[in-house]
Symmetry: C2
Subunit: 288 residues, 2 copies
């Protein structure tokens, strides 16, 4: 018995969106997207992933819409889909898989539901799906989240249903990213400060001796951050909201957001701080 | 040939000061200290370590004075010794081994040198010396620092001379502690936020799977922090100074300082947040 074809809309076409789209397409799912206003690079990623650019009405004429965008675009994205649904009367399940706070997820849910869509909360832990079979964990929560299991069964995604209402999956994503991307910020801050103070060599030597696992972790995570620093800045803001602005420790993530903003500008510009980070991490490669 | 006896003054008698004092005393060094205004617990630690309570004049009639106090007491401590040296004319080498910024170390140096003392900068990485032979690394820098090598040769301490002026050893200490104690703050922040949001179980499970080394590290470092949170708060302030208050990422350490202040109060009081941290970390001990 052949099943009826499954169609899923995935917005947008960044590394993660295109990676998820390709995984679904390779598994026989029809993957729709919208390239309106998107860059040529996005269009190329979408085409390579087997994602089809469609008109607005077709975007929502699917059982499931996945929102995979930078945190700062989560609300604008659901507003766009809500407007299309109001015009067409379509009622897909809208899943927000973005790195946003539970509060932002609740706001997105309210906009989706006011337009008649069902809503599921989600959060992605890990990098984009790869050709070698690697899949990130896609955590989902909320009463409608079980409807996303079809993406595991037929789409090859690692969908993980967790207990709890809308917001639970986002809370997990925030607290996990707060550790991993927070530590990347903290390590970068200290490698840069040690370099400015002339203590880089001594710090690298001491870390090599007493914290070799952390140093190895920095060597993997810090270089992978440069190109993503702009997006991570927004994520740090969401994490500060998640902690609660009334709690003093939320300042940790405000500080991390400012660092990532500066590194994003450095990455696009002179790359002076990035060169300092690279020089620090490559000390390990030198003999002695 | 017997060497003339070596006398060293160590202030104060906290876990680190008493541990260093004991290591020196066990190696035959005469260890002097001052118990004026100190608690009964300090007096007991000093006695157990073989540290001798002496009058002010005898405190400075030694070749070396080691300052091992909370960061917030570093300046008051050197001021006290400077006053004694002015009265007595003694000229010991004053080594500040505290977790202070290079700027604070320079200020301490200025006060010591104005009273005629030589000065060495230092920073201790690791816990107090233990009976099992464990020694922390005591990094020292500055033109006078080579005079501290006698504490390795005759005192059994792990003295490590690093290149650079006064401030270099403090910079190393700041950047190392900024990573390790900063990460402890960040992990505590996220474990508490996840717990408040009902995501503790999911976070623990995901960390167990994808970041087992970090989770094990938290299990060692977080519980060791509770009793030291008050002192660590001051250290976070020094690290923010070290980064430079004009750099936005210094806010990371202001946030960490506030968290440690609150946890110190919780540790002395209701222990509600500490109980939440313990509950999080002990999830790993449960079957399944």
């Amino acid at each position: 018995m052949t099943q009826p074809p499954l169609a899923v809309t995935v917005v947008a076409q960044g590394a993660m969106g295109a990676g998820v789209g390709r995984r679904l397409a390779r598994n026989g799912v029809e993957v729709r997207t919208s390239l309106a206003g998107r860059s040529r690079a996005s269009a190329e990623r979408a085409a390579a992933a087997g994602m089809r650019d469609v008109e607005d009405a077709a975007l929502v004429a699917v059982p499931i819409v996945l929102s995979i965008v930078p945190p700062s675009e989560a609300v604008a994205t659901v507003e766009r889909f809500a407007a299309i649904c109001r015009r067409t009367g379509a009622r897909p399940l809208y899943a927000d898989l973005n790195a946003v706070s539970p509060e932002t997820a609740a706001r997105v849910a309210g906009i989706a539901e006011a337009a008649g869509m069902a809503f599921a909360d989600g959060g992605i832990i890990g990098g984009p799906p790869r050709e070698d079979g690697y899949n990130p964990a896609i955590y989902v929560s909320g009463a409608e989240a079980p409807r996303l299991a079809v993406l595991r069964e037929r789409g090859g995604l690692d969908i993980r249903l967790i207990e709890g209402p809308v917001g639970a999956a986002s809370a997990l994503k925030m607290s996990y990213a707060g550790i991993t991307k927070g530590l990347t910020a903290l390590a970068s801050t200290m490698m840069l400060a040690a370099t400015r103070a002339g203590a880089a060599e001594a710090l690298h030597a001491e870390l090599s001796q007493s914290q070799p696992q952390l140093l190895a972790w920095f060597g993997r995570m810090v270089p992978s951050m440069y190109a993503k620093a702009y997006r991570w800045a927004g994520e740090m803001e969401e994490i500060a909201d998640f902690i609660g602005r009334d709690r003093a420790e939320s300042a940790i993530y405000d500080g991390a957001a400012r660092l990532y903003e500066r590194l994003a500008a450095d990455e696009a510009g002179e790359r002076r701080e990035i060169a300092a980070l690279e020089a620090f991490l490559q000390r390990g490669a030198k003999p002695g």
